[in-house]
Amino acid sequence: MQKALSKRKYVIVLIFYITGILFVMRLFYIQIIDRSYLLSANSNVLRHITQYPARGLIYDRKGKLMVYNEATYDLMVIPRQVKNIDTLELCRLVGIDLPTFRDRMKKIREYSVYRPSVFEKQISKEAYGFLEEKLYKYQGFYVQPRTLRKYGKPIAAHTMGYVGEVSPDICESDPYYKSGDYIGISGIEKSYEENLRGHKGAKIIMVDVFNREKGSFQDGKYDTIAEMGKNLYASLDMEIQEYGELLMTNKKGSIVAIEPSSGEILALVSSPTYDPNLLVGRVRSFNYNILAQDSLKPLFNRALQATYPPGSTFKLVHALVGLQEGVLNLQTRYGCSMGYSFGSVHVGCHAHGGPLDLIGSIAISCNAYYCNVFRTILDNSEFPNQAEGYRTWRNYVTSFGFGSRFDTDIPNVLSGFIPRNEYFDKYYGKNRWKFLTIISLAIGQGEILTTPLQLANLAATMANRGYYYTPHIIKAVGDLNHQQEKYREKHTVPISRQYFEMVVEGMYQVVEYGTAHYYKMDSIPICGKTGTAQNPHGKDHSIFIAFAPKDNPKIAISVIVENAGFGATWAAPIAFLMIEKYLKGSIAKKEVEERMINGNLMNVK
């Protein structure tokens, strides 16, 4: 009996072995075959924390800080990890009510339960201090330090642009950006986004079941350090930028100042403007809506995007083309009897002595003279017809940068408009248009449109006597001595320097005794040209372009004051003040300055 029963040992031992083998097989499955447990373990314990680099700073051309960063904190949430939290207390800390909380969590969950989302942007410093202490109680929540832009002086808003949250479209197309990231949306912030943003780093930390930090994963072997964005050195001079904005107070219009020898933009004023600090952080969308609805369009960058007929400033171009084409010389004179008449067409002019030679025609800005010059250019016997003459003329004009966009670093630069032959062919019919049809082009009116930036570039080209550098806003990236190479390319106008000298002499006389002599400064030899852009909607726009000093020029400028009438009345004195401020540092005639600052042309139509 015992003998038989002792055989039962084998059954029992077999059960032991089978159990052991079953366990080993099961372990083989979950530890070696099925990889999902490893992934779950990592998602349990590893947190990928994005290290946001500080955005690059922006300095002016003299190394003065224009744009810097200020620390703020975003409250982040990973919905999957949220459990057993005191919702009411959290609502109180953040300053929202319960329905808002539920609403937000719902939206965040719809985006992703696993990925971190911003729960509350830019929480207050007090809330941050409090949360920092209590955060362990709120599983699934953590605080992410971020930076916000801060502007030392409320100037150059349009140029600087603004930073905002990245749109879902960009998020999808560019893997660098994650929902809630910031991106430059306009201005320099947009065009230099890649330099400014730096490089995000990632820190992998381990957390316990209560979401408490437990140190870095594998001693930080897989961490990457955030790289700060590159600093930018703007070509702007803060001082005259600020001064320009001051002068344009209560006026619509723009000032563009360029250093002719480099193409660097010294000042880019669009008025009315706004304080760039308004478009930062949580108040941004609120303020943006107010600004966007303002009838004065403060968000509109007139210096780059407003297009005006260049008016009489364009006579400089006509003169140069005429000289180069050999249909005009210093001694050419045309009479003027209060304008130019041909058949039924009449172009008016103001009263002046005559007949004028080339210099005089520029100084006095005689319309009849330029109708004749334009006619001789088109009538040139070298061409079979006037259309071909126009084509040649247009080629000269576009070589100044008119009619096309500058390939530059400021976004949203417009091209203006210099009509092609085809345009007139379509409008009037082929061979059905001639000089008289388009005679208003002779005095810078009609179809042609130019931007204030292009007019400033014209001034710079005059200053250089025949070439220009693409106007640009950023002098150097990273280091002030690292000048941007791509803007060192010289664009030469196919007109010889001697003709430029002649026209420049005319510009000098404009200020000496011509249309702009009223505000003449003895200390600085300024060359300029007045212009008046006819405005079908109201009072004409006042235009003035200039450069100074006459020899070895340091600044070229265009000023447009909308609805201000003749170029000489508002635009010229503002340009003079800018030049004086830039070259001398102070203003001699305070009364002019005061009159300009206090002038209110906002309500002139």
Partner: protein
Amino acid sequence: MREERNIFRNIDWILVFLYLALVVIGWINIYAAVYNEQHGSILDFSQRYGKQMVWIITSIVIALILLMMDPKVFTAFSYFFYGISVLSLLVVLLIGKEVSGSKSWIDLGGFDLQPSEFAKIGVNLAVARYLSTLNIRMEDFRTKVNTFMLIGIPAILILFQDDTGSALVFSAFIFVLYREGLSGNVLIIGALVIVLFVVALMINKWIIISLLGVVAVVWFFLIKKNRRDVISLLGLFVLVAGFVYSVDFAFHNVLEDHQKQRINVLIGKETDLKGAGYNVNQSKIAIGSGRFFGKGFLEGTQTKYNFVPEQSTDFIFCTVGEEHGFVGSVIVIGLFVGLFVRLVNAAERQRSGFARIYGYGVASILFIHFLINIGMTIGLAPVIGIPLPFISYGGSSVFAFTILLFIFIRMDANRLQLV
């Protein structure tokens, strides 16, 4: 003197080695499970590994004392120990302190005694004593009743403490009784009952009953058709169908919600990873993420950062799996299976029935713990909170398992002497 030397010469050193190996592995894993940098010292008695160290050393002292005792004491006092065990289980019901739902602890001032751990020893001694008594035969109905009483009384008392796990451990004696002559059908029926139980919960009861009907009809055509066979076939069908039906009924009307959930999680009907399934899921994640060689000592993240609950007691095997991988897990399983087989072999070589039965009892009790505990951590058994012998943290459990094992080692050392 001479006798003592004999004892140490006759000790089964393989059993002692397996015991020490498991205890040391246990301590290392408890250290890893509760490790944190602020409490680096291994002798920090405020930490669990410090306390466990104390208990292990105390256990070894107890083991030495047991080895020096006369083995006749165990036989002579087995009913006495049984009585004390039952008494302490009654006491705990009166003055016990409740920890996580079970009223199983007596506070002895700094040390929480868990009588249910020690009751296993008393029951094992009593069963061994009773079945080894002359003229007691397993086949007798009276013997069966008495044996089930001996086992059932403490088991029911433990059930009253709401400690289902510890009560379930007493089912281990089914192996002992089988060895001592209980029909082998008991094991087969037991296994069938478990299979049918699980199947009944997973599949609609009417489908199973129909399937059983089909089997019965096929059987009916295969067998010789005499009345007796047909009746017993019909009876069997009714019995099995009735069982399936009552399992379904009992499950829905008798079991409590948390018990239902645990079973549902196990059979895969419920995958609530945040609720009832959380423990098992986290346990599998910890073990599964260990891969082949494990993450290395103190490198485990799931256990150390508390993703796994009870990581130093019931779920200690997670630390083994996570930090030492497949290799470490297989070693631990190998050590346990080796211990069980060695115990059974040692039990068979005993001259005295008492020592043999007791040895089988030790092997069976340890095996059931192993089966349920590791089965639970790898998702093969429902979540039942019982410790993994020698490995899990806990003074009562270390003491009780040490005493349980060393009583047998002491008797085994004496096996060559006449009873």
